[in-house]
């Protein structure tokens, strides 16, 4: 999921709220398909495709209809709420005792649930970093990166920025929906509310990743996103164990992200403050 947010927020420079809906969409699609007896791995693929469709809607609203990116995302997110209810048929679906991708691995390798979560999570992370690194190194991928960087230059080089943004948003939301599907399968349930705050969690992981694990090359950036997400989970687990009520979790996350995002401004204020002090000293 963090990788999805990374694509929209850092590469495309768009805060895409669609993810709040597409993560649930992924979960809903998996829940629907698994309860009706389909293969859980296939359901993940369909979840990914569903997410790209959500990204396509946001992309079209933003580029072709010129609705601001933030609002386009909100519109799709709200619309997805109804879509998700339709897909699930009710507000939450239990997947207990059903065949999920995790139970398949458990049966196959004879390991317990926790190990299979680690195996699938690890494989997904490594695989996605690899695929994304390849994709953003291609001609199309470079064009998308450049679009987030400098749209004027990109148009002057004959690239359709609208198309680039749409592809980027589709990929981002596809990844988020895929992770929604994985979450539903590991938790054994899908809930229509589960997407609330997803963008903030994604941003938190992104920022932690950048701060702790650096942002030098593109490859190391992608990897740091993964470690950022893991670190975020560890922090949350620690805070909960220290006795913070689970109800306060989202408030805690929001405050953390707000602080992290305002760091550059704090640095600026500190520097002007320092400058004014040293200036006064010189005058005295």
């Amino acid at each position: 999921m963090t990788l999805g947010v990374y694509i929209s927020y850092r590469i495309l420079d768009v805060a895409d709220l669609t993810v709040e809906g597409s993560i649930t969409l992924g979960a809903a699609v998996c829940a629907n398909m698994i309860t009706s007896g389909n293969d859980p791995v296939l359901s993940l693929l369909i979840a990914f495709i569903g997410g790209t469709a959500a990204g396509l809607v946001t992309g079209l609203l933003h580029t072709k209809l010129r609705i601001p990116a933030l609002l386009s995302g909100i519109l799709t997110m709200i619309a997805l709420y109804s879509v998700n209810l339709r897909v699930m048929g009710m507000s939450n679906v239990s997947l207990l005792r059903m065949t999920t991708a995790y139970s398949k691995i458990s049966d196959w390798l004879g390991v317990n649930k926790t190990i299979s979560v680690i195996i699938i999570g690890g494989a997904a992370a490594v695989g996605l970093v690899f695929i994304l690194y390849w994709f953003f190194g291609t001609q199309i991928g470079s064009a998308i990166r450049a679009t987030g960087n400098n749209p004027h230059m990109v148009r002057a080089q004959g690239i359709n920025t609208d198309t680039a943004i749409i592809i980027g948003l589709m990929l981002a939301n596809g990844l988020v929906a895929l992770s929604g599907g994985l979450i539903a399968q590991s938790q054994n349930y899908a809930d229509v509310q589960m997407g609330t705050g997803a963008i903030v969690i994604g941003l938190a992981s992104l920022i932690i990743g950048e701060v702790l694990f650096g942002k030098r090359g593109f490859k190391s950036r992608l990897i740091s996103m993964i470690f950022g997400a893991i670190t975020y989970r560890i922090i949350i687990a620690l805070v909960l164990r220290m006795g913070m009520p689970a109800d306060d979790l989202k408030l805690f996350t929001a405050i953390t992200v707000a602080l992290a995002l305002s760091l550059p401004r704090f640095r600026e204020l500190r520097d002007t403050f320092k400058a004014s002090i040293s200036g006064r000293k010189r005058h005295a």
């Binding site: 190194g137 291609t138 001609q139 470079s142 960087n149 400098n150 230059m153 002057a156 080089q157 920025t161």
Partner: protein, 264 residues
């Protein structure tokens, strides 16, 4: 080759800020023309260039390049035929991408982009050679992020990107105005060299009268959205800055010279 006919551009139409930026402008460029476009602030030079590039849509008139109606194409489709360098050195390159990645984007201008790897080893060899020709030592820093380059280096890189695939028409929009005089001179000389060596057709907007006289084979002066002077070849070579200033005040009818023009 480039035919601009009765081009009209109005900014903020039907409001109190309405401004007629281009007033029935017609201009014809011959293949190999290197036109310097001069005029005061708000004369419409940059607007003219941006209309050709497709940044703005005109209200009336037509732009034809080699028989093709350019004004019916979107900005990114026109880019196939055009090389552009902007006034702001930050505008022409993607700051967070490597020098070679920027060049690779430019190399495929007007071509279909595929899922093939962005920068191949043949590309790198080509870039190395072209960068070496700039004489700025950039050929040994190809994997450096463009953000770390100076304004002059970025402008030279943008110029190289604009001409990497020979464009039918090169548009230089005051591309040395933001540079210090020494760097500006270097970038200008580089521009002239590229234009000469590749036999490009070029329109260069400038505020600097001396540059407008020294470079190119044709000088076009604009004022209030109209072309007021168009001199060619030998006649242009004999021009002096004083004459140009004189002609400008005579033609424009009033004293509308900007300080920037007089100072330069």
């Amino acid at each position: 080759m480039l035919e601009i006919k009765n081009l009209t551009k109005v900014f903020n139409p039907d409001t109190i800020n309405e401004k007629l930026a281009l007033d029935d402008v017609s201009l014809c460029l011959n293949p190999g023309d290197f036109v310097t476009l001069i005029g005061g602030n708000g004369a419409g030079k940059s607007t003219l260039l941006n209309c050709v590039a497709g940044v703005y849509r005109q209200e009336g008139g037509s732009i034809t390049l080699d028989g093709q109606r350019l004004d019916r194409l979107s900005e990114h489709k026109r880019a196939k035929h055009l090389g552009r360098v902007f006034q702001d050195p930050l505008m022409g390159t993607a700051a967070d991408m490597e020098i070679q990645e920027n060049l690779a984007l430019a190399l495929r201008r007007g071509m279909r982009r595929t899922l093939r790897w962005g920068v191949t080893s043949e590309d790198k060899a080509l870039f190395h050679e072209r960068l070496a020709a700039l004489g700025l030592g950039l050929e040994d820093r190809m994997s450096v992020k463009v953000r770390l380059l100076s304004g002059g280096q970025r402008q030279a890189l943008t110029l190289l990107m604009a001409t990497l695939k020979a464009p039918k028409l090169l548009l230089l929009d005051e591309h040395t105005a933001a540079l210090d005089p020494k760097t500006a001179r270097k970038v200008l000389e580089l521009s002239e060299r590229f234009i000469r060596e590749m036999g490009l057709t070029c329109m260069m907007v400038t505020h600097n009268m001396r540059d407008a006289i020294n470079y190119g084979n044709r000088l076009v002066m604009m004022s209030h959205g109209r072309i007021i002077l168009d001199v060619n070849g030998g006649e242009k070579r004999k021009l002096t800055v004083e004459e140009l200033v004189h002609m400008f005040s005579a033609k424009a009818g009033e004293e509308v010279m900007s300080d920037r023009m007089l100072l330069s």
